[in-house]
């Protein structure tokens, strides 16, 4: 007997999906903002001449980039309580996303920093600017501009990766989907719809990041 599709079976549970999308969005926004901030600091440390700090950041980057996100999440949520650090599902999920994006964006932003011509930095040095001033006014914005497409992709990857947070019962979109199909056994319909929702969120996120990039890097006269 052929399977009879019944997308109507999802309708009574629509609020779960909406709540899930809201939580996914929250995780992504916080994770992206703090994670990219962490990446900027990490990239600066990696590009700086302080070898110890650079190496510590290097170890962090390699540790995160060479282990699965799920394991990182489990470690934070199930492992850290052994050290007395007990986090809620949401806190653990957002921390895992920050730590993960922080590592990837460190490497992406570092590439942007390395692409700044040395002459720009020498010119700034010759104008008696200190390292912090050079980074802030001369290096950061042109560096971010160079790597913005790559960084945008990484943020989308992290948003999609947040689905894994359902495994610690963070009630994001995939958690909602799992829950609904456990009640009505409509796995095809539920995951079909959720796939569409993720797709829509990804496209919106990419568009949003493009608009943000245009805003950040457009030629605006400051005086």
């Amino acid at each position: 007997m052929a399977y009879k599709f019944d997308f109507g079976a999802i309708v009574p549970h629509w609020e779960l999906l909406v709540d899930g999308m809201i939580l996914t969005t929250e995780l992504t926004v916080i994770g992206a903002v703090v994670g990219v901030g962490l990446g900027i600091m990490g990239a600066w440390a990696r590009a700086s001449r302080a070898p110890v700090i650079s190496q510590i950041v290097g170890v962090y980057v390699e540790l995160i980039r060479n282990t699965p996100f799920l394991v990182q999440l489990f470690f934070i949520f199930f492992g850290l309580p052994a050290l007395g650090v007990k986090l809620s599902e949401f806190q653990a999920a957002v921390l895992a996303m920050i730590v993960n994006l922080g590592a990837y964006s460190t490497e992406i932003i570092r590439a942007g920093i390395l692409a700044i011509p040395q002459g720009q930095i020498e010119a700034a040095q010759s104008l008696a600017m200190n390292r912090v001033q050079i980074f802030r006014y001369v290096v950061l914005l042109p560096a971010l501009k160079k790597i913005w497409p790559a960084l945008s992709s990484q943020i989308v990857i992290v948003m999609l990766g947040s689905s894994v947070c359902s495994q610690i019962a963070a009630e994001e979109l995939t958690f909602g989907a799992n829950y609904i199909q456990a009640i009505n056994f409509r796995a095809f319909e539920v995951y079909f719809v959720v796939t569409g929702l993720y797709l829509a969120m990804s496209i919106l996120l990419r568009m949003g990041l493009k608009v943000l990039g245009n805003f950040l890097f457009e030629r605006r006269r400051h005086v």
Binding site: P117, G119, Q120, E122, A123, A124, Q125, S126, L127, A128, M129, N130, R131, Q133, Y137, V138, L141, P142, K145, F217, R219, R221, H222, V223
Partner: protein
Amino acid sequence: MSLVELHAIHKSFGALEVLKGIDLSIDEGQVIALIGKSGSGKSTLLRTINGLEAIDDGVIMVGGKKISERDTDLLALRLQVGMVFQQFNLFPHYTALENVMLSPQVVKKQSKPEAREIAEEMLTKVGLADKMMHYPDQLSGGQQQRVAIARALAMKPKVLLCDEVTSALDPELVNEVLAVVRQLAEEGMTLVMVTHEMRFAREVCDKLVFMHQGRIHETGDPEEVFANPKTPELSSFVGGLA
């Protein structure tokens, strides 16, 4: 007293010794040309004067004070010694005006109107009053270099270092930049320039320093040096150019 004094400066890149004991004093208002073949160490010497190249041995004194490798000393040195580069090195994300205003604002903590006034004055001085709102990629090479000069001048340095400031320019743009440098020299600005413009050096400079294999090989009044080179190396260098 000299503005800047270099004593027994040594500098190596790996096994290659580029500067083999340089002594040079730069007096206020002096215009010095560093000439020599490529690889003779003239650009490296220029870059040691504002600490872009750390020296291995020797002493740099600015205003009678010894400069150490510490960051605070380097920043103090660079407040006195400005620099203009072969490749202009303007900041691409700022307009000409913003390029000139940036350092007075963030380093000298000048207010925006104050920095703007100085920047406009300097850009007018280099003949770019009508290009202030242009971005570097909207300017010709000669215009970019003049913005770079204005940017250095806005910090009111006591000495301006010029590292082959016309070498990256199309021939027809060289003169507009040299005219600005000449004007600065006439106004009494202390200048040290690495240059291949021998006629310009002869006309504008007070002192010619010929470098050869990491040493100051011959030095003196430009007219004198060009007319009667004492060493065969300078003789062949000058002859090779003629």
